[in-house]
Structure formats: structure tokens, C-alpha cells
């Protein structure tokens, strides 16, 4: 078997193991939440002991926890995440469109943030200690210091409600009846918020790793060989600066999948993040479990991709595979 394929298979296996452990934790955590689903559904009527017990029985909440877990896990593996307790429809059906919305949002944010931060990261390193570098550094540090909801609110104030009134919609209620490309405007503000939240980290790591590479002896050697500066950078410096940045980029993209929760809530965006918030509030356990698993899967996948890419761009790692 080619070593790279072997490595990928091992890592995929480890990823699945991680997801399994996550499923245990998620399940246990939902059990630990105060009040159960039956009480949540019945509300005040839960005072009626008989009705409460009947509903618990109907929902299977009276069975031992491990039985409940095994049944749930069996469903997850076969693509049946159970029914939403609140809306009485299959979780997968309710999730479908929202997953598409969220992934579109994350994708737009990634497409914006990755090139911008890679470009600014390497430029600030090249123009180290100039006014350009200092202002980008101060700006990115300030952004990194702000929670994403503050950035979001500032954007809303500026583009939607105060300064440029109505330039952008303040809420992003994506209509499930229309295709996404007809409503892209609704994605802009949330995507920009996410971009501003994530880009500073990638930018700063790339700046640091580019500076390290520029100070390296092989870059000095490339200059002493008489290479034009363009080649020194493109062939010798930047490819070597990319590997550390890959890991941070992946971590941040993975963070986006979880970080959307707050931003979606802020913009009333119909994605999995806002759905997660609602589901927790409603004790809609099958839904919470499904969303947590999706977010965890994105994390695992992003890190796996970053590791494999890092190996591909680092000859030392690639040739060291056995």
C-alpha cells in the first residue's frame, strides 16, 4: 500500500474513533442537562404526573441510558438521526437546508479570509516594521481582541441601521423556498463578520512563519546565489512558510463551523448554529446531538485535511513516511 494512502486510512480511522468518543460525550451531556424532553414538551402540564410518565414512556426516556445510546448510535450510523421532539419531523429533513445554508456561509467566509490573510500575512512579513506592517498588525490585533458578536453588531450598525442605512440587510432570514444564489446578499454581513473574526489569527501566524523563513540561512543562501528577489520569495521563502499556516487555517476553518452559532443567532440566520441554540432551549435532544456531531465531524475533517496537506508540502515528512 502506498505510504500516504496508509497514513490517510489510519487518520480516517482515528477520526472515526474521535467522532465515536464525541458521540458518547454529546449523549452524556444531553442527559446531564436539567429537565428532560418530556418536561420540556409538556411545559406546565408536566405537573400532571400520569401524562408526564406516559410521554416519557412513549419517547423511550424511561429505558436505561446505555440502551437509549445504542439505539441512537445505530440510527446515526444508518443515517437516521431520529425525529425532532419539537417539530415531530425527522432531524435529517429539518437539518438539510440549514446545513446547506451554514456550509455556504462558512465557505464564503473561508474564500474571503484565507486569501486575504495569506496575502496580508506575507506582505507584512516582507515589509516588516514599516507603517504598513504596523497598521495591519495593530488592526488585526484589535480585531482578534473583539468577540465576533461585537464585530457583527458594529457591522450591522454601520451598514444596516445607522450610517449607511439599509445598504445591507440587518437580519439574514434566508428563504428556504428560494435558491441560495438569489439571496447571496443575505450572506454578506455574516460572512464578513466571520472573516474578520478568523483572518487575524491566520494572518499573524503566516507573518511569524514568513519572518522566520526570511531569516533562515537558506533564504540568505538564495540571495547570495544571486537569485532575483521575486524567485527568493516565491521559490525559497513562501512555500516553506506555508506549512505552519496550513494547520492554523484548518483550525480556524473548523472553528468557523462552531463559531457560526453566535453569528447566526445575531443575524437570525437560518443555519445549524441558530438551530442548535433553539434546540438546546427546547430540550430537542436528537437535534442537539445531530448538530454537535456535524460540527465535530467538520473539526475532524479540517484537521485531517490540514495534516495531509502539510505532509504533501513538506518533503521531510513526505519522504519520511513508511
Amino acid at each position: 500500500m502506498p505510504p500516504l494512502l496508509k497514513l490517510i486510512l489510519i487518520r480516517v480511522g482515528l477520526g472515526l474513533l474521535t467522532l465515536f468518543l464525541v458521540s458518547v460525550v454529546v449523549f452524556a451531556a444531553t442527559q446531564a442537562l436539567p429537565g428532560d424532553t418530556a418536561r420540556a414538551i409538556l411545559g406546565k402540564e408536566a405537573a400532571d404526573k400520569a401524562r408526564y410518565e406516559a410521554l416519557r414512556k412513549q419517547l423511550g426516556l424511561d429505558r436505561p441510558i446505555h440502551e437509549q445510546y445504542i439505539e441512537w448510535l445505530g440510527g446515526v450510523v444508518t443515517g437516521d438521526m431520529g425525529d425532532s421532539l419539537v417539530q415531530d419531523e425527522p432531524v435529517t429533513k429539518l437539518l438539510g437546508r440549514r446545513v446547506v445554508n451554514t456550509f455556504t456561509l462558512v465557505f464564503v467566509a473561508a474564500v474571503l479570509s484565507v486569501p486575504i490573510s495569506l496575502l496580508l500575512g506575507s506582505l507584512t512579513a516582507l515589509k516588516r516594521d514599516t507603517l504598513f506592517d504596523t497598521s495591519i498588525t495593530v488592526g488585526s490585533l484589535s480585531l482578534a481582541a473583539l468577540p465576533e458578536f461585537v464585530i457583527g453588531i458594529a457591522l450591522i450598525l454601520f451598514f444596516a441601521t445607522q450610517v449607511l442605512k439599509g445598504a445591507m440587510p440587518a437580519v439574514s432570514r434566508v428563504d428556504p423556498g428560494l435558491p441560495i444564489y438569489q439571496q447571496l446578499k443575505l450572506f454578506i454581513l455574516p460572512a464578513v463578520t466571520l472573516t474578520l473574526a478568523v483572518a487575524p489569527y491566520i494572518l499573524r501566524i503566516l507573518r511569524a512563519s514568513t519572518i522566520e523563513v526570511l531569516e533562515s540561512e537558506y533564504v540568505m543562501m538564495a540571495r547570495l546565489k544571486g537569485l532575483p528577489e521575486r524567485l527568493v520569495l516565491n521559490r525559497h521563502a513562501l512555500p516553506n512558510a506555508l506549512a505552519p499556516a496550513l494547520q492554523v487555517t484548518a483550525l480556524n476553518l473548523a472553528w468557523l463551523a462552531g463559531g457560526v452559532v453566535v453569528v447566526e443567532y445575531l443575524f437570525a440566520f437560518p443555519g445549524i448554529g441558530s438551530l442548535l441554540v433553539d434546540s438546546v432551549a427546547n430540550r430537542d435532544m436528537p437535534m442537539v446531538q445531530a448538530i454537535c456531531l456535524i460540527i465535530a465531524a467538520v473539526y475532524v475533517l479540517a484537521n485531517l485535511t490540514a495534516d495531509i496537506l502539510t505532509i504533501l508540502v513538506s518533503p521531510r515528512l513526505r519522504t519520511g513516511l513508511r
Binding site: E215, S216, E217, Y218, M220, M221, A222, R223, L224, K225, G226, L227, P228, L231, R235, H236, P239, N240, V313, S314, P315, R316, T319
Partner: protein
């Protein structure tokens, strides 16, 4: 050994440097000052000095390159009459790697880890437009690979730098430097990181190539022995200034500067005639240099005038210049090798009927599943020093670590201490044993915790092994510092405030603080300048005698062993190939490997 060196002026000077001054930017503190030198066609000039003397800075300045934070403030550098310092960026780019090329100290760090070596070699030819076609350049590349004795098949050229050995990497760097048939080449300690055998090969290659291409070369090193058989002329640098410049023979036989003579005396003598003498103190860094003659604090010839004023350049004979107020008196002395003390040969005699402290019997050791030591049998005698000599990968450090209880993998066989079998791991050994066997590591830059003061570092073994009051601890610390010739005022300092030699003395003091009977020294001088190495060896030899220590001295440098030990074991590929008294082994080696090692060790 004397070689024909045409007097300056008769041959064309390829490189002329005049009044070069390089300073730290922005502080303006000088790194180098008043550096003037010439190198002629086909000539090798050795630029010799200790760490921090500013020699690398001079080397890269010839290519008009400065590291961040340094700048050339004054002076002229001409290559074939062209002023390098006033060139346009484009002209400079053309000359770098073209007319002048550079071989770095550590080629493992200066080859791009992400590019195949074939590509890196081709690149320098492409950039400078070598030949008519790609085929020409590939042919040239194959030619260069052959000249540095490397294969040039596709499979080898497709390797990445990390897939090459250190010697191969350095050859690639040399091939690259000669690729465009430069007029002058700067070699910055290209062999420091290499074993003696590899070093000998690299030096041969450099010698052959400079001759056959008629290239002028600047060879930068801290080790006079390395350039002894390579350089036509030698420039000795101290604290950023050239203190003496002359032909090889002028420098070696009639050095007129006390520093030149001291440097010579610190070269370990493989013939065992001379005593090894270090230079006290260390070379001051930029910004810490005293006024007047910068060498005055370390000089035996110092007079009041030296402290007041830096001496001017004096001409001893045409082409031989020196900067010392008392150069005439210094030069009037007989040659260094006639005046130095002879080694006390009784010190390398082995006493009769001594007890074995450490006995190693039929030991095999593994690294994971690979056997790295084969059938080792040796012993360390009480109050004697055994040198363990070999190149990297020979297993010498592994054996030392097995004895110290620091080998984390399987060991088969018996290692005994005073007749009792030692547990494999130090933590399973009784406290008294751990106290009795102390280990000093190779690299003093990483063996001392940078967050602890020297006092905290020294109090650690005292706290572990002894039950002492505070004042007793302080007395003991002052005591061990005195033993290693350091001042007690260092106790409150941190390791990064000390020079390499001082750090290694602290590491030795830490070992001594435990009051051991066995001291294991693992390549303790390999990170140090030759001048500092000599001082450390002197110190260790006297400590071993005075304190009655049994010492295991691990080294790759065969030239050192006579200055310190009575017995020697030569190792290669995980086996001891020769074991005996130092004088016997060095005068009449039996194993082929020992003979080869002896012939590859540079001598003066």
C-alpha cells in the same frame, strides 16, 4: 610543509578590501573596523579568529550582504576592480553566485529543505545564464557533482537535502559555489560541523578546486589547524580587527602578535610533544570591547600603553603586518613550537595495579530494534582517564550514556561499578551510585536551564545529594566555582549572560558539586573555539589529577586524547576497534580505522 607563495604584488589581486568598517545598526557599535586585505588569483587566505571576532561579518560583506541589524559604514571592497559596495542591485545580483560565491557554515540549514538538490544546483546556473542550453547546464551540473565526488544520477539529484549526510550536503554547497567558475569564493567554516574524515575530504576538495580553477578563496575558521595545510596566507582577527597578516610560514614560525602565538599554542598536538595551553578569558563581543588594544586583558605582554591606545599597523616584512606595541619583542622570541612547554609525559603513564572502577563486559545495546553497540568490552581504571574516540554514529555517546544510565533502550551484558552490576536506568540505581557517576553534556548552550541562575543550577545537585545548611551550600558553590576558575559573582547570573566556555565550566562545576568519583565528559569541547577548548582540557586534566577522579572523555578529536588521558578506546560502527595506552595507540596504531583517523586529523 612550506609552499610556494608568490609575494603580494607580483600576482593580480582579485579582491581588495580597504578600511572596511561594519557596525551594528542603529547603535553604531563596531563589529569590524579597519579591515584591509587582498587575495590574489589562486590564493587561499585563511581568516582566523574566535567566536564573536566578526569574521563571518567580513565574509558576507564581500558579497555586500549583511544580516539584519548590521551595516557597512565605511570602506571599499573591489572584485576585479569593480566596487562591490556601490553596485546597483541588478549588478550585485549578477556578481553574487557568479564572480563571487559563498559556502556556508551549516549546509544542512542553508540548503532549501523543500527543493530537490538537483534543482538547487541547476538554479544557480540558470540564474547566471551558464552555457547555451539546458543540456549545457545539466552537463555542468554533472561535472561539478563529479568534482565533489558525488553521484550525479537522476535518483541522487532528486533527493532532498535531509536525505543526504552532513558531508554530502557540504559537498553540494561546494559544488554550487564553484558552478559558475567564480573569481573568488568565501568559505565560512565549512567543516566545523563535520567529522574529521569528512572534514579531510572536504578540505581536499576545496584545495583541489581552488588550484584547478585558479580561484581566490577566503577561508574563515576558528581553528588554525584546519587552514595550516590549506592557506597560503593567514589573517588573524581579534575583536573585529586584523591583528596580524602574513604567509602561513610567517604566522606559524615567526608570529609577531601575542594572540597569534596563543592561538597556535591552543591547537591540540597529536604528536604529544607540546602541552596544550588555552587562552584565558574570551573574545569580547561588539559593544563589550575594551578601549586601547582589545587583546590587552588576555595578553601576557601587556604594558600601560596597550590599555590607552590601539596600536597602528606595522610592517614586519613586505606583506607581513602586525598590530601590537611590542611586536618586535614578541617576534624576537623563538617560534611558538620551540618555546612552548613540553607535555609532561609522565601524566599519560598508567599506574601499575589499579582497580577497575567501571567494567563493561560483552555489552550490546539497541536503539529500538536496531543493534547499535556490538560486543563492547572495556574498563575505566581508578584515578585514570579513558578517552573514547570515534566519529558521529560510532556509538561512543551511546556507550557513555549506557554507563551513565541514560540509555532508554535495551542493553544486553554487564556494566559494573566497583564490582557491582549497574541497573540500566539511573533512576533504578542507588543514590550513592548516582552521586558517584556524573555526566557533562556536549552542548553548554542547551544543558543549562536558561531560566535558572548559576546559583540555582549549582545548588540542585547539592540539595539532592547532601543535607546542607544554607551557608554550607553557599560555601560549597563558591568552592566548586573556584575549582573551575570562575568567580563567585557569577552565582546570580543567568546562563545566557555567559560565554560558551564559561557555560561549560558551570556545567563541569555542576558535575563536581555532587562530589563524584567518576566523571563522564561527552564531547564537552566540540561546541567551543579551539582556544577555549584548550583551556577546558587543561582544567579537566588538572581536576582529574588533583581530585583523583576517574574520567571517561568522549571525543571525535583524536588530537586531544594525549593531552588528557592515559588510555584510549577507538570506536567505529558500534564496536571498539582498538584499546590501549594513548602513547602506544597513537605512535603505533594497529587498527586500520585508527590509522585512517590519525591521517585525517589536521596537524600543524
Amino acid at each position: 610543509m612550506a609552499r610556494e607563495a608568490a609575494p603580494a604584488g607580483e600576482r593580480e589581486a582579485v579582491l581588495k578590501v580597504h578600511g572596511l568598517r561594519i557596525v551594528l545598526d542603529p547603535s553604531g557599535v563596531d563589529i569590524d573596523d579597519e579591515v584591509s586585505l587582498q587575495i590574489h588569483r589562486g590564493e587561499v587566505l585563511g581568516l582566523v579568529g574566535e567566536s564573536a571576532s566578526g569574521k563571518t561579518t567580513v565574509g558576507t560583506s564581500l558579497l555586500n550582504y549583511q544580516r539584519r541589524g548590521a551595516k557597512i559604514e565605511a570602506g571599499r571592497i573591489e572584485i576585479d576592480g569593480q566596487d562591490v559596495l556601490s553596485m546597483s542591485t541588478e549588478a550585485l545580483r549578477k556578481i553574487r553566485g557568479g564572480a563571487i560565491s559563498y559556502v556556508p557554515q551549516d549546509s544542512s540549514a542553508s540548503l532549501n529543505p523543500a527543493l530537490r538538490i538537483g534543482k538547487q544546483l541547476l538554479e544557480i546556473l540558470e540564474i547566471h545564464g551558464f552555457g547555451e542550453s539546458q543540456a549545457d547546464r545539466e552537463a555542468r551540473r554533472a561535472e561539478m557533482m563529479a568534482e565533489v565526488l558525488l553521484p550525479s544520477d537522476e535518483q541522487f539529484l532528486r533527493r532532498y537535502p535531509h536525505q543526504l549526510s552532513g558531508g554530502q550536503q557540504q559537498r553540494v554547497a561546494i559544488a554550487m559555489a564553484f558552478a559558475n567558475r567564480p573569481r573568488i569564493i568565501v568559505l565560512d567554516e565549512p567543516t566545523t560541523a563535520l567529522d574529521v574524515t569528512t572534514q579531510a575530504h572536504v578540505l581536499d576538495t576545496v584545495r583541489d578546486l581552488t588550484r584547478s580553477y585558479g580561484v581566490a578563496a577566503l577561508y574563515i575558521t576558528h581553528d588554525l589547524a584546519v587552514v595550516a595545510n590549506l592557506a597560503d596566507r593567514i589573517a588573524v582577527m581579534y575583536a573585529g580587527r586584523l591583528v596580524e597578516v602574513g604567509t602561513r610560514d610567517e604566522l606559524f614560525d615567526e608570529g609577531h602578535h601575542p594572540y597569534s602565538r596563543k592561538l597556535l599554542a591552543s591547537i591540540p598536538d597529536i604528536t604529544g610533544e607540546r602541552a596544550l595551553r588555552g587562552i584565558r578569558g574570551w573574545a569580547p563581543r561588539p559593544g563589550q570591547r575594551p578601549s586601547g588594544c582589545t587583546f590587552a586583558p588576555r595578553c601576557d605582554w601587556v604594558i600601560d600603553k596597550c590599555r590607552a591606545e590601539y596600536p597602528p599597523v606595522e610592517e614586519v616584512s613586505p606583506g607581513h603586518t602586525v598590530r601590537c606595541w611590542r611586536y618586535k619583542e614578541v617576534g624576537a622570541q623563538a617560534g611558538v613550537f620551540e618555546t612552548v612547554e613540553l607535555r609532561d609525559k609522565s601524566l599519560s603513564q598508567r599506574a601499575a595495579d589499579v582497580r577497575e572502577v567501571i567494567s563493561v563486559r560483552d555489552v550490546d545495546a539497541y536503539y529500538q530494534h536496531k543493534k547499535t553497540l556490538h560486543d563492547i568490552n572495556t574498563s575505566l581504571s581508578e584515578r585514570h582517564c579513558l578517552s573514547l574516540v570515534g566519529e558521529s554514529g560510532s556509538g561512543k555517546t551511546t556507550l557513555a550514556r549506557c554507563i551513565a544510565g541514560l540509555h532508554p533502550h535495551r542493553i544486553v551484558g554487564d556494566i559494573e561499578f566497583n564490582g557491582k552490576r549497574l541497573a540500566r536506568e539511573a533512576r533504578d540505581r542507588p543514590r550513592a551510585t548516582r552521586q558517584a557517576i556524573q555526566y557533562i553534556f556536549q552542548n553548554p548552550y542547551s544543558s543549562l536551564n536558561p531560566r535558572k541562575t548559576i546559583g540555582q543550577i549549582l545548588s540542585q545537585p547539592l540539595g539532592v545529594f547532601f543535607d546542607l545548611s544554607r551557608s554550607e551550600t553557599e560555601d560549597r558553590m563558591a568552592d566548586v566555582l573556584e575549582k573551575v576558575a570562575l568567580d563567585a559573582s557569577l552565582l546570580s547570573r543567568y546562563p545566557d549572560q555567559l560565554s560558551g566556555g564559561e557555560r561549560q565550566r558551570v556545567a563541569i562545576a555542576r558535575g563536581l558539586a555532587a562530589e563524584p568519583t567518576v566523571l563522564i565528559c561527552d564531547e564537552v569541547t566540540s561546541w567551543l573555539d579551539v582556544s577555549v577548548q584548550a583551556a577546558i582540557i587543561e582544567l579537566l586534566a588538572s581536576l582529574q589529577r588533583d581530585m583523583g577522579l576517574s574520567m571517561l572523555f568522549v571525543t571525535h578529536n583524536l588530537a586531544l586524547v594525549r593531552s588528557i588521558s592515559q588510555e584510549v578506546a577507538v570506536m567505529t560502527e558500534g564496536r571498539i576497534v582498538e584499546f590501549g595506552l594513548v602513547d602506544a595507540v597513537l605512535e603505533d596504531p594497529q587498527a586500520d580505522y585508527t590509522k585512517k583517523l590519525l591521517s585525517d586529523t589536521p596537524t600543524v
